[in-house]
Symmetry: D2
């Protein structure tokens, strides 16, 4: 088993960076030109607190869909599992992340899960608060706490860009409103969703979110429990089956630990009990996942034996067998 | 953490048995009358060789869809990962297990994954052999080896019943033949598929399959490797995302370890590095999963801390952190 | 063949009125209570100018989807056939009138035809004008001319109700905007669409629209051509294949002449070269068609030999054979 | 209005023949090589008995889907409208002719209409008879009678080719068997369907079928009624909405009279009270319709004023107005 170190990560970055050329940068995002295409960065923080980084790890990008992980945690905290999953399902779907057909299909109009756009809009609409501002404040407060980073903020430019290209999400939201899945004001639900997506983070912040999941909900500073561990099990399970758009099955096989990606090229990875991983690589494939970032995630899994379905990962537990 | 014992399992069975009344026995199977509806049995074999059983654990039922796990292992062994996944996908789908619509959708006619009927028929068609008999012999030889049970055999009656009710599967197979996904003789592919489904097993046999996966492919008698561990990681990942029909997401959340069910009421469970689980409970829900068996699987996960996304499951590894 | 007369129509109304009890009044429309459920009225105007009416023929109801006929005529007039059918298809669909799945299917995001909501919103967006007001004025001007009724106007109450229940249409419109089918301002396109639907008409007005189509586009007052006859052939053909929601095939068989219905219970019928028919019957079936009105349309077809596929309808042309 | 004559038809053929280059010959049919690609022939028989032909009108090709018109007439004759439309719908669908998705959709597994493959297989299964041979004999007897051609016969070679490429139809048939739509033996239903499709006809025969429909069911020799006129109205209406695969809407607009095409390049056209049209042109477009034949049908409609939605077609009836 390869030992984790900064120099190992540098090598891994150089191995994976060439995959960026197979992807395209999401041109709906401002300042996201071809210039940024080859960016690739990674941070890993282990449960014992060690931190490793390499490549363009200090590059800030918008959370985009990685925000779905945060809003699901908050909604579970605010309403509990039963209520959340009355509004949104927990089943993976073999379909595009912004599919509207599935909302119309069969006897249900419930979005399949909280990791697809429709499901995330519905989930975000559950977060408690008197106003969009208030609800977004709560989101930011929670995010700053679990990343231990008080400086996080939304990019106004990204927010505006998101809003300007929002027709598909609007369509999803109004559809859910017409079926009664979304009961709050549609424009407010979308506004909150756009804000969440526009928060800027770097690898270290993404890794901190992964670490929070890996440690079962402990405050990174105080080690006290911020959110019940069973809610985080739920989040991790849904990331595993549905976190990587319609390549989720592929990543379950090839990475083997829970991940969530965003079309900005961000990836949050979490290996329960071991580490959180944050990746930034703006060039994405046609499914929406970072090409170089995905290659890196899979390489880390192989080299560091992170695959949860692997026996190597568990042989060390032999003496714990009962 | 509850300690695993026969008496614990007896209690768990009695707790879970009442859920049988919420299900229905699959009437397409002979001798599967209401009389059997309340049957519920379980066997667990840990990686150190200890075996625990309770309830109707010696009741034999046909494998049905649990055979998909075996045929995927054999196909991977025969052809390797690349070739197998040229024929069948590895993505979960939020749809019924015998869906034909998905075969027609978008730009692909490849079945979503090897755990749905279409995918399993395509996977089985890959197994090497000169004839149906020969290919089925290879299947049985492999199955007997990994279960360490030479007495396993196919039920002629179940095979005939399967064949007589086979219109939907025939439809799937001919569709795949028309698109070039299934290139072998259709009736032979179906015949092999029906035979596999009709093999009779009891809880101990199902648990043995789970154990084989949990131990990464070691011969239960000789401890030598029968199949590369990475193939078994693939199988377990696909069971996690797609093994429980369109409740797979629910089981990823509520059980948190790889499972595969069959409409006979069988369930194979596997906890990597820890144990194999076999469950028999003929009353199934509308998705195709054993109602009492599913309740039991979820109870075992909670009581024995089997959820792979859980932190309790991994705290014991703290001293292994790097 | 039954002779057309007011007394015949009175009988036909009484025969058909009981079917109202099989339908439901659309409760999204104000003042559309159970009180109105049994209303049934009809007007027929023949190409020689004779006019017959019976029942509640002076009851005013909103046009709803019957406006789709008007906006298609205007769009064809403004842009010609080629341009209109670059934006919207001309194929019938066996699906619900507000289906969004079809927009996502296969390689096209073009709405199937101008008689479904998505297609009508796209068609309306083509109508020329500097502003919503200006475009709606042109619509009203055209409508008043072909109905020879200067008193037609929009109901503000119906417009507001339409707007308040507009989530599904908004979803359709934003979806089309996201795919580039709808290139104008979405809210303006919807606003125009809602206004058109909220224009109040009675049987005589609906019959006048049918007559305009039946006479190939002649001004009812001056007999001069207002719109090329070939555009009206297009409109009538599309009404035949797609005018009665997903009962269009049923009405092609059972009525056999072009019709268009609205969820207010309105029906426009047109028998080329013979007559225009206007029907009002607020109780609608689950497909969106007036139950009593539909029964009446089918009775008229049988009694008056209006089925264009019928030989009786054409025997009179024997001496014209070549 | 152009006068109908052999020389006019020769001109029309030469105008339309170049469109053959835009199509492809169906290579699943034997002897259907590129050599035949430019074939184009037409026959027209008017209700007064005059017959006109031009081009390759004596070229024999298999009926393919034009047989659907015959089997629908026979099924209506054998069982009546109610019974037939319990098994198959009468709604057009905006989907591919061999779509299986629609069978799975919504709450019905009834094929949309008798003009698509699934619907035609179900319809054919209704035709009375003790055996496939007996039922096919009845089909041939009826076909010979309405075409007044005792020499019609099935091509064994075409039948074998159809059978060898039958996986998609098999898939459709077994699907319908699994849902209870098809209650007879599946292989027998398919066998009958393949035989019907393999009957060889030339333009004159196809035109005779169109004439039979145009005259409302009269025996071409004796002028006595062979089948009630109302059944033929039903057939013609369904041809109008669904006869040209998923270009049916296009042909309703551009031709404006009932047509049915087959992938062999055959087209049956019928103008009620006026004429039957038979076209042969083997090069088909991606929807399944003859490219040159379709161009010819549309040219005939324009030149001879055959569009039933046209006012020119009906102005002659002004003196019959009531």
């Amino acid at each position: 088993m390869t030992e984790l170190s900064n120099s190992y990560l540098e090598e891994a970055i150089e191995d994976s960076r060439p995959y960026a050329s197979q992807g395209k940068v999401n041109m709906n995002l401002p300042d996201y030109g071809e210039a940024n295409k080859d960016y690739l960065g990674v941070s890993i923080i282990t449960t014992d607190g060690s931190c490793y980084s390499a490549g363009d790890h200090d590059q800030y990008i918008p959370m985009q869909s990685t925000s779905k992980v945060i809003s699901l945690m908050l909604a579970l905290q605010d309403f509990g599992k039963d209520r959340v999953f009355q509004t949104v399902g927990m089943e993976p779907m073999g379909d595009f992340f912004n599919s509207i057909s599935q909302l119309e299909s069969y006897d249900t109009s419930k979005p399949f899960n909280p990791m697809i756009n429709a499901g995330a809009i519905a989930t975000a609409s559950l977060i408690k608060g008197q106003s969009v501002e208030n609800r977004f404040d709560r989101y930011m407060h929670f995010l700053k706490k679990i990343t231990s980073n008080d400086h996080l903020e939304m990019s106004g430019e990204m927010y505006e860009a998101e809003k300007a290209n929002g027709s598909r999400n609007r369509s999803l939201a109004y559809f859910m409103h017409s079926t009664g899945t979304l009961v709050t004001d549609v424009e407010e639900a979308l506004d909150l969703y756009y804000r969440m997506n526009a928060v800027m983070m770097c690898c270290h912040d993404f890794a901190r979110v992964g670490l929070f999941l890996a440690k079962g909900g402990l405050d990174p500073d105080t080690e006290e429990s911020l959110i019940p561990a069973h809610h985080l099990r739920t989040v991790k399970a849904i990331m595993m089956t549905s976190g990587m758009y319609n390549s989720s099955g592929h990543y379950a096989v090839e990475a083997g630990f829970p991940c969530k990606s965003g079309v900005s090229g961000s990836i949050i990875g979490t290996v329960p009990g071991r580490m959180g991983i944050g990746v930034v690589g703006p060039a994405i494939d046609e499914k929406g996942n970072s090409t170089a970032g995905g290659a890196l995630i899979k390489k880390l899994s192989r080299d560091l034996k992170l695959n949860m379905f692997g026996i190597e990962n568990t042989e060390r537990t032999k003496d714990h067998a009962f």
